[in-house]
């Protein structure tokens, strides 16, 4: 079983987003990037499968700059290989284009299972796994948990509204968007990551830059607040009085 885990870095929301309000552009170079949280779950699920059935795990990132640390961390956690798709990519590269490069790579390299985070904060409809599967004409499922390998079959679950669970089985090759791994993503000690940087390599693969149909982002902007909450100041008695007055004004209390 050969598993490919897709990983990408996303803007770190701990820092403020750098937004050029006048031009409606995100200033990618002024932001810090961190590995996407959901991709960490995809990697964890892959590593659990490796422990259970001896799968070989490769982690892949499109080279949007500064992805090495993320890949070495994945190696330190237990991935067997790391691949970086190089070419005409940067932090603003669309998901459509990234998916194309990943699909091209998957045409030339044999994998049974592709796991990706279900979505990323810059991709809230979970495009990459779906587009990759579409381009390859492979089956795909999203918002998946509890992947297991049962002989030739890959089993996994999805949760529906009303608490209903569904269990699926599929034949490889297959692309899954992982919602959450069965365990919290493991920690890679810094010493191990640094040791990986010295002892292992990231395979760089030139990815052809196809032209793909893309959307154009007109502008990024912060939503304009429609109204404001009233913050009630003062000591507890004053605050309580004010709350009672408001409740009375709105006729929410009797008497």
């Amino acid at each position: 079983m050969r598993i490919l885990v897709l990983s990408k870095s996303v803007p770190d929301l701990v820092e403020e987003l750098a937004l050029d309000e006048d031009n409606g552009e995100l200033l990618h170079d002024d932001m810090t990037y961190v590995p996407s949280e959901w991709d960490d779950h995809a990697l964890e699920e892959a590593l659990l499968l490796k422990e259970e059935v001896g799968a070989e795990v490769t982690v892949l990132a499109v080279d949007t700059g500064d992805v090495d640390n993320m890949l070495f961390t994945a190696l330190a956690k237990g991935a067997d290989h790391a691949v970086k798709l190089t070419g005409d990519f940067d932090l603003a590269t669309s998901n459509r284009k990234r998916a194309q490069a990943i699909a091209n790579y998957l045409r030339d390299n044999t994998f049974d299972l592709v796991l990706s985070g279900v979505q990323a904060i810059d991709d809230i409809d979970g495009q990459i796994p779906a587009i990759v599967a579409g381009l390859l004409e492979w089956p795909h499922a999203s918002v998946v948990t509890e992947v297991s390998i049962q002989g030739e079959q890959i089993h996994f679950r999805q949760e529906y509204g009303g608490g209903l669970q569904a269990e699926f089985s599929a034949q490889a090759p297959l692309v899954l968007g992982i919602q959450a791994a069965r365990k919290p993503p493991r920690y890679a000690s810094i010493a191990k990551v640094r040791q990986m940087m010295k002892s292992s390599t990231v395979d760089e693969i030139d990815a052809s830059a196809d032209t793909v149909p893309e959307l154009e982002i007109r502008r990024f902007f912060k939503p304009v607040a429609a109204g404001h909450a009233e913050m009630i100041e003062g000591d507890p008695e004053e605050v309580a009085d004010r709350i009672i007055t408001i409740l009375k004004e709105r006729k929410l209390v009797r008497g």
Partner: protein, 420 residues
């Protein structure tokens, strides 16, 4: 079976009196150790953890270990459980020690928890067996340079509140006398920032030429090291030393006793050797110039931080500063100086609060606050950035709100000098 090696001196000379030990030494293993010691051997074969094997169960540590007073843990118990075959790596015991150093002070066999704990914890971290909340602190520190997970770009934002110049070295472009290593909690925690503001104003009032690293500073990493993340410490030490090496200054002054410990004992191993003082040591000789005029007519007791007192031997500077404040009545708690109780924040305890709660009857900080109240203190004076928040929380959780205030010594000094 291999012969046990005697650890006792063959001949000790105490006050000129010869104390031969030959008749009393254990050269052959006795019946008691003739069972499977493989688990103990696994632990003592870890570099740094050898001394666990020296324990002879005298129990002196149990009497002083702050964790044993609120739980069921002491070095004696760690040894015995390991000797009986319980894996330390899988035991909650591994995460309870705050590395307060009180046991080492009394242990006749120099069983050194300050080295055993980081060494064994490092192994546990590698094996993925560390508590989740601790790993979050490690991850935050690796990613953001501070365990709180606060934005690195905002590390120097607190200076705005100081309303006095706080030069950042990268913009200052001139040598300074004092490089002030601010650290994480004094940069980000609301109460930590209060102390930083106070200290910045004191430095200004004293005319000290000082500067800070600002966003170029990262956590000193000492507590992460004690909690088992040596690789992270390496990375942080290399970074901080590289940043500090860019600038010219005569000495480093730190707010945090944990950083003090790192600069004193660890950073020199990485090539970062500078004269370093805790801020209380730096300020104590300047008392006469501080203009401490506003009285603080309160009963004040002082909590010695483990890493300033027991680890590094400084007990006087903080007390001298407190005694210099007019009308301040300094009272000592029973556990003070060498025997001071621990706030529970050291050695990773700061990031293990919910974990430790499951194995202790009360927080160490709560026990300490109760002691301060028992001694009739109005103010608990502290001088380690972990403590203000820990003790303030403990004041609330022990129902002592309004009875006891927690203040950093910098805050008390700045108040007395009418700077805040």
């Amino acid at each position: 079976m291999q012969k046990a090696k005697p650890i006792e001196l063959e001949l000790a000379v105490v006050n000129g009196i010869e104390l031969p030990g030959h008749w009393n030494r254990m050269f052959e293993p006795r019946v008691i150790s003739e069972y499977d010691l493989s688990v103990l051997d696994q632990v003592t074969s870890i570099e740094g953890a050898e001394s666990l094997g020296y324990c002879y169960q005298c129990g002196k540590c149990t009497a002083v270990c702050p964790v044993d007073t609120v739980g069921d843990y002491s070095p004696r118990k760690v040894f015995r459980r390991t000797q009986l075959g319980a894996s330390l790596i899988d035991s909650p015991d591994l995460w309870l020690c705050t590395t307060c150093r009180n046991c080492l002070r009394v242990c006749p066999k120099e069983v050194n928890m300050i080295e055993i704990m980081p060494a064994v914890r490092e192994q546990a971290v590698l094996e993925g067996k560390a508590p989740e909340e601790l790993l979050t602190a490690f991850e935050n520190t690796a990613r953001y340079g501070n365990p709180l997970g606060e934005p690195p770009r905002k590390r120097a934002d607190w200076v705005k509140a100081a309303e006095v110049p706080v030069p950042v070295m990268s913009q200052h472009k001139a040598p300074v006398d004092v490089l002030w290593f601010v650290e994480c909690y004094p940069s980000y925690h609301p109460r930590g920032k209060d102390a930083s503001v106070a200290l910045a104003r004191l430095f200004n009032a004293l005319g000290i030429e000082f500067g800070i690293l600002g966003t170029e500073e990262k956590c000193s990493g000492d507590s992460q090291r004690m909690a088992g993340e040596k690789g992270l410490f390496d990375m942080l030490a290399e970074h901080n030393i590289k940043m500090l090496s860019k600038y010219q200054f005569n000495q480093i002054v730190v707010t945090d006793p944990h950083a003090f410990n790192a600069f004193l004992h660890e950073y020199p191993k990485y090539g970062g050797e500078w004269p370093v003082q805790h801020y209380t040591q730096f300020l104590a000789p300047l008392i006469d110039q501080m203009n401490l005029t506003r009285p603080i007519p309160k009963k004040v007791t002082f909590h010695d931080p483990c890493y300033l007192g027991r680890h590094n031997g400084e007990y006087e500077a903080p007390r001298n500063l407190l005694k210099a404040i007019p009308e301040l009545d300094l009272v000592e708690m029973g556990h003070c100086r060498e025997t001071a109780y621990c706030c529970g924040g050291g050695g990773g305890g700061m990031w293990l609060d919910s974990f430790v709660r499951d194995y202790t009857s009360q927080r160490l900080s709560e026990k300490r606050v109760r002691e301060a109240v028992e001694y009739g203190a109005d103010i608990l004076a502290v001088t380690c950035p972990y403590e203000v928040s820990r003790f303030e929380d403990a004041v609330k959780s022990t129902g002592n709100t309004g009875k006891l205030e927690v203040k950093d010594i910098a805050e008390l000094l700045a108040y007395s000098a009418q700077l805040i």
